[in-house]
């Protein structure tokens, strides 16, 4: 391998061995999301954007105890950070007095408020956007390859990417918000990138299957690594600076890209290898 830190050999395992791990993880993820769906009605816990509420972002850090004391009369949601505090739904008059209080105490604070019905609308639209995006992506992939198994493999690994990422989000406590929805959508685009490269190389190039697979792996891993590097840099800055919008997007993309590596080089590579071997490739 060209890069020292990549030790996986895409040709060492049989297709069956390759797909076992991701398929088990996919089933576990679906179970987690299904359980959430059954118990709360949403696969991932919705954040303030969707469930309604108020968020206050401070410019300078403040002691959480001071914040608790200052906002004791309002529906504060724990845990509270030093720069980011959230409130549950409240009526208009309470919100106005909260806005005035924030303005007096912390004139440099950002306030965001989403009403419950508006949140509901946003949530419906976000889920619609995710569904349409996924269907649109699947149509493009099928039109591009016009062959069921290779196209199906790409769509399956994109589906696995989204599902597993959502499951990880739910386990580690990242809420579904407008930014994290955006990240999931971006993931649909990113995840097919390396899948398409793999499929094109294997189907359209001349040569031995093993060579094509390792060539694709070589290029694909570089692609994902550079993207990961960009996103990781974005995450570090957003985390240190507590920019929640960018931090949420970056966190979901980081998780998603790692999962995508697995799905591309185990799920998709496994299926395409099986498909080519079945058709008598060497």
């Amino acid at each position: 391998m060209g890069m020292g830190f990549v030790t996986y050999d895409v040709n060492r395992y049989t297709p069956r061995q390759m797909v076992v791990l991701p398929m088990v993880l996919l089933i576990v993820s679906l179970a987690i999301l299904g359980y959430n769906m059954a118990s709360t009605g949403m696969p991932v816990k919705p954040g303030m954007d969707f469930s309604g509420g108020t968020a206050v972002t401070l410019l300078y850090p403040e002691n959480p105890d001071t914040l608790r004391a200052t906002f004791s009369g309002y529906p504060l949601i724990e845990p509270i950070g030093e720069k980011f505090i959230k409130f549950g739904p409240m009526d208009d008059a309470t919100f106005e007095s909260l806005a005035t209080l924030v303005n007096e105490q912390y004139p440099d604070a950002k306030i965001d408020q989403i009403g419950p019905s508006f949140g509901q609308t946003l949530q419906q639209q976000a889920l619609l956007a995710l569904t349409f995006s996924f269907i649109g992506m699947a149509i493009v992939v099928f039109l591009a390859f016009r062959s069921f198994i290779p196209a199906g493999a790409v769509v399956l690994s994109a589906f696995a990417d989204i599902t597993m990422t959502a499951a990880v989000m739910s386990v580690i406590g990242i809420e579904l918000s407008l930014p994290s929805t955006a990240a999931l959508l971006m993931l649909i685009g990113y995840s097919v990138d390396s899948d398409i490269l793999l499929t094109m190389r294997v189907l359209k190039r001349q040569g031995k299957l093993n060579d094509k697979l390792s060539g694709a792996f070589h290029t694909g891993i570089i692609m994902t690594t550079t993207t990961l590097a960009a996103i990781a840099a974005m995450w570090v800055v957003a985390f240190a600076g507590e920019i929640t919008v960018i931090r949420d997007i970056a966190s979901v993309l980081l998780i998603g890209l790692v999962i995508d590596m697995m799905n591309t080089w185990l799920t998709n590579a496994g299926i395409i290898k099986w498909y080519m071997l079945k058709r008598g490739a060497k």
């Binding site: 965001d112 009403g115 990138d193 550079t226």
Partner: protein, 485 residues
Amino acid sequence: MNRKDLIELLKNWQVALLIVLLVASVFFIFPHSEDGKLTTNLQYGLDLSDGTWLQMEFQAAVAGFETDRPVVDFLTDLQKNLDAEIYHIDDRKIEIRKYFTRDDLESAFAASGGRLTTYEQGVSRETAEQVKVILEEKLNALGTRDAKVNPLIGLSGISSYVRVELAGVGLAQAQEIVGKQGRFEIRIQTTGNETEHVLYGDAINTVGVPTQEPPGSNRWGVSFTLTEQGAVQFRDAAIRYGATTDPSRHYLNMILDGNVVYSAPLSPDLAAKLQVEPIRELVASTGAGQDGLDAAKNLEIHLRAGALPVEVKVAGSGYVPAALSDYFKTLAIVAFVAATIAVGIVIFLRYREPSIVLPMIGTNLSEIVILLGVAALIQQQLDLAAIAGLIAVLGTGIDQLVIITDEVLHEGKVPSPNIYQKRLTRAVGIIMISAVTVIIAMLPLALMSLSTLRGFAIITILGVVIGVLITRPAYGKIIMAILSK
């Protein structure tokens, strides 16, 4: 590379276009110094510039109906049952300017001899546009520095929300401005230019939409009704100052916030009627043809004195202070620079060849510059989510340059121009497919009214389009020219 090769390279249309667009973009972004601070033509969204946003929900519904009765009868009864303003906006659709749940409407429709077929909370596109005009007029009258009013119109053509963004205004102040009504007064001409007070805006009960008076005449006017007391005041003033006997010398002036917005005499017909009894139903005529219609539309707004035709409720709001938006802006730039450096390091570790790495990063950055240029040109606002989109474009961009590089460098040797072209075409094929998927994936977001994520989707789509059509193919040519040395 020698001079001749360079000229050859520049003759390639994609490379030439890349350079032209780069120059044009810098021109559109127009970085310049203002009061010692670096400024550009880029538009920033609310989280990157101080101000307030209010998203307001229309307390109204657009409903489809079916009835076996004559439509006019059905609508008349429905209006009685609901006690709300109803406008027939389409063959089988009405706008109800009051909030009702679907269930409420279903029973009211049934009671009026019809059936509810569709229900959507919101207003028609026309009403939404009217709300926009009223709000903009009100905000401009108050001298608000930079106000944006956008009704969010869904794919069905119905608008459920209107979003107002006010730069440099606090949350409480913004709510007050949006809720505030103008001061409306009717005065009557006594002698010469002297006028006397007749009534204030509170005496106006309802205001209609522009209609032809009489129907089919192409002469336009706006009907309005007075309260009982207002009608008495109106009649008393008209009689006291002689407007009923000599209308042409006693014009009635309508004044909004100190400006005369309408001035006309009583019609002889109305003058005669007023002599007998108070009249509550009045029509202010505005003339014939398109001009008359336009004047009627304006007058309707003025009669409402800045009150919206539909009640709105704040559904969401937010405020970003200047200090915090500056902080976000700085950190967004830091995040972007950090991402670029990180990408540069990984690419260098992979290729260890400055003649590949530098053009790659250069192409990538020019993609971002062109993207910003387009954003400045179309006045697309940049907010935090759009910045994340920008960094995502950086990420996919570099991915695709890797695909091109590896595809053409296949087996390590630089191929002959013929084979090279074939491989480049194949590489562009791969990146085209993934570009189309990204565009398709982002399209729902760009079309939907999920306000804050639209910018993100538009930036991502634009970035991908610029990338696959211009910068990435140009990179293919540049890398060929460099490597064939």
